[in-house]
Symmetry: C2
Subunit: 458 residues, 2 copies
């Protein structure tokens, strides 16, 4: 080992520092279809103090630092286009504190959402944000993740009270307190949420929790076409019915999950509903929602009343990504997401489906329609370069369509490497310059996850 | 008029530019007890473009710029400690767009919450955030305001989708889209929310709206002591009962509003509840909440079922500030707020009441207890300098108590001039340095509302 930084890190971390090809490979890829880009070395940190020391050493040696959680990102967030040191936080997996009185908890960045969920369920609480993968909280905060319950409980942006962050200079800060709200100064918590490791490394996360509702019920409704499905969703939202989840699956996605999860749902545009509350509220909400979907010619509510049936349904929904992959065995997925105002959602999906049909690709659609957010799983054959080109072009047209409709280039996946090229179209040159000014102010050496999110200024 | 900047502004704005003593006086004070600090001149802007031109001219002349909405701030936010130009945005009062399908709207910064409310009610919608004053949306966004419904609907931090902001260099940016969520880059919307005009001037605000619930009911419950009142609130929160408002008034505040609003509530620690939802949900929620308060020895729910009675009750609550002032005729109020984790709230209020009693001052307490946030109206006789000293000391002890308990120096009033001295104690030197770095990056000449929020680095 001749690299002086590597020597110092090996001295600090022992066998938790490695330059093995295997670990570099594991840490230079994610769930995207982008070609891997490997770091020079990987550190497994156990504490905030260790992360701070690693970051300080990297700053001294002007070496890039890339944080890594579960590796489940979809836009190359964890890649190392400029080499450098990956800090794997997955061993920082301690649940540090849970308060039932305050409905909050603090976890290390490497705790995963399913790990926390198991811990909290015993105490009658849960954390609502549920991206498809069993992501870490550091990663979920860094990408401003959300999931199926955002329509009721919000995204990571709404559910984090405070962060512990190691800054590019190696100093450690707390971005907030355990108070539910504060008007004391710039909102550093929200600045670091969604900053994708480009301003510092999140090492601890303080989360808002929810009490487990007395009753939960789920239902499935099929529609003859997409437009009426979305109109039903719009009316349900306006009526103020407290829906915990409203998920849309197109006919192709229903086929895929039928095959994958051994279900036999009618293969048509479909809404999955979930209601949380007291027994009475849940019954009433479901009744009102059923009336509205019925008025829009939806099928009768198919109920999943017992917990086993309900879990099977939602597990199938959560496994949509894998169901999509299995739908075309041997394929990879170029997975993309956009979010538009709800009034534009039906048009956006209809135009996108026409575009998919014209391309000859298979691309199941699944969406958090209560938020106007949907995903395309563009299935590509790795042996057909033409597939990837077509998929990339289709994805680009989707992003532009979303922008034209007043939406955003990504609702919950983040920018990473994959969507950097659209940042100017979304934000404009002046707002992008503000982001650059912030980056430059906090990370003047450009060492924190460099080459991601912010395209160079022209 | 010899000042060259004043000449240019007068040329631009005609009689919407003034150096009159009257307007300078009106714009150099707010609802705080701090002594006024006047700007050199006042501009009344009508459009974002005008604000941008004024800011550019001020930048060329290295002259401070202070945004002004309703003047209802409580910590000297609108004061001009370094002179300069105040931009009054109150005439930017256009509601630009309302979408019932998307439940959102865009307003100019000078629109007030009551103005928007009147407009929306006709269309079956409302905007929930309700600070005591009839503040402007520019001001509410700038101070990260909240109010009585935050426990259900969140604060300005949770209810703004996007902002139009004039930057210190005179460029105009959009900080977001109308999509409900986005993972595309740094969260500039949340950076400007709560930035108190120190990073730029908010000229337009895009807000999330709510459908007016089918049913609303309100109730009042008295408690023998504060501790049991807060324990009841904690249990109600844990049980997940959807309460729209839970307000706490101490015995002194109940006396004050009884006198002011001609009510005859029992003069003891009191909770005001409001429930929003369907008829059934509201009834059920109220029943469950009543069971819990009863178990904690609260009085029977006193119902305000009809709209007139309910409005009278909540108007009395909203007028708490004026009721407090009227309680000691001729007094001014040093109004302060803190927010602590709910588990600490009872202790914090009990210790604070003991401190008030020891000081000999009168200080009604009112709180958004569902959030752990409460206000002290420290009533001082302007002719007794000793009163103001005592009040300032009491306020300082309260802030320190909140910090010790893991809370924040201000839950919703903001920092302004009044709480600048506590910023380091809350955030620590390193986090404060991050805020300074952002300020320096965006406003290198320090012209945007200078001398506020951020204390000089040591």
């Amino acid at each position: 080992m001749t690299n002086p930084l590597h020597k110092e890190l090996a001295h600090l971390l022992g066998d938790r520092f490695t330059i093995s090809d295997y670990e570099r490979q594991q840490h230079g890829q994610d769930e995207s279809a982008l070609p891997p880009m490997l770091p020079d070395a990987v550190c497994f940190a156990l504490t905030t103090e260790e992360v701070a020391t690693i970051v300080k050493l990297c700053a001294q040696h002007q070496t890039p630092v890339i944080p890594f959680g579960a590796g489940s990102s979809l836009e190359g967030h964890v890649f190392a286009p400029h080499g450098g040191i990956t800090i794997d936080l997955s061993r920082m997996d301690k649940i540090l504190r849970v308060s039932a009185d305050d409905l909050d908890c603090t976890v290390q960045a490497g705790v995963t959402r399913q790990q926390l969920d198991q811990h909290l369920r015993q105490q009658g609480m849960f954390f609502p944000v549920d991206p498809g993968a069993d992501a870490t909280f550091g990663g979920m905060a860094s990408t401003r993740a959300s999931g199926t319950t955002a329509v009721r409980y919000g995204t990571m942006s709404d559910n984090v009270l405070a962060l512990t962050v190691v800054l590019p200079n190696g100093q450690t800060i707390q971005t907030g307190t355990r108070a539910r709200k504060s008007s004391a100064g710039y909102d550093l918590t929200h600045l670091f949420i969604g900053s994708e490791g480009t301003l510092g490394i999140i090492t601890e996360v303080t989360l808002k929790l929810q009490g487990i509702p007395e009753a939960i019920s789920a239902a499935v409704v099929g529609f003859a076409d997409l437009d009426t499905a979305v109109k039903a969703v719009t009316e349900i939202r306006q009526s103020g019915i407290p829906v915990a989840r409203i998920e849309f699956l197109d006919d192709v996605m229903v086929q895929a999950i039928n095959q994958f999860a051994n279900l036999n749902l009618p293969e048509q545009p479909t809404l999955f509903f979930e209601f949380h509350g007291s027994n009475n509220t849940v019954q009433e909400s479901a009744k009102l929602a059923a009336e509205i979907t019925h008025a829009w010619s939806g099928s009768d509510f198919q109920w999943a009343t017992d917990i086993g049936e309900r879990n099977a349904l939602w597990k199938a929904r959560h496994n949509a990504y894998f169901a999509g992959l299995a739908f075309r065995p041997g394929s990879r997925s170029l997975t993309t997401d956009v979010c538009v105002p709800i009034s534009q959602l039906a048009d956006c999906i209809i135009q996108t489906k026409a575009d998919i049909d014209a391309s000859g690709l298979t691309a199941p659609i699944v969406g958090h329609v209560g938020d106007g957010n949907f995903h395309l799983l563009l299935l590509v054959d790795p042996n057909k370069p033409d597939d990837l080109t077509k998929a990339a072009q289709l994805s680009e047209r989707l992003v532009k369509r979303a922008l034209t409709m007043g939406g955003t280039i990504t609702g919950e996946h983040g920018v990473g490497l994959g969507k950097m090229k659209y940042m100017k179209a979304q934000h404009g040159e002046e707002a992008l310059a503000v982001m650059h000014a912030i980056k430059q102010a906090l990370d003047p050496q450009n060492l924190m996850n460099p080459g991601k999110m912010l395209p160079p200024l022209e």
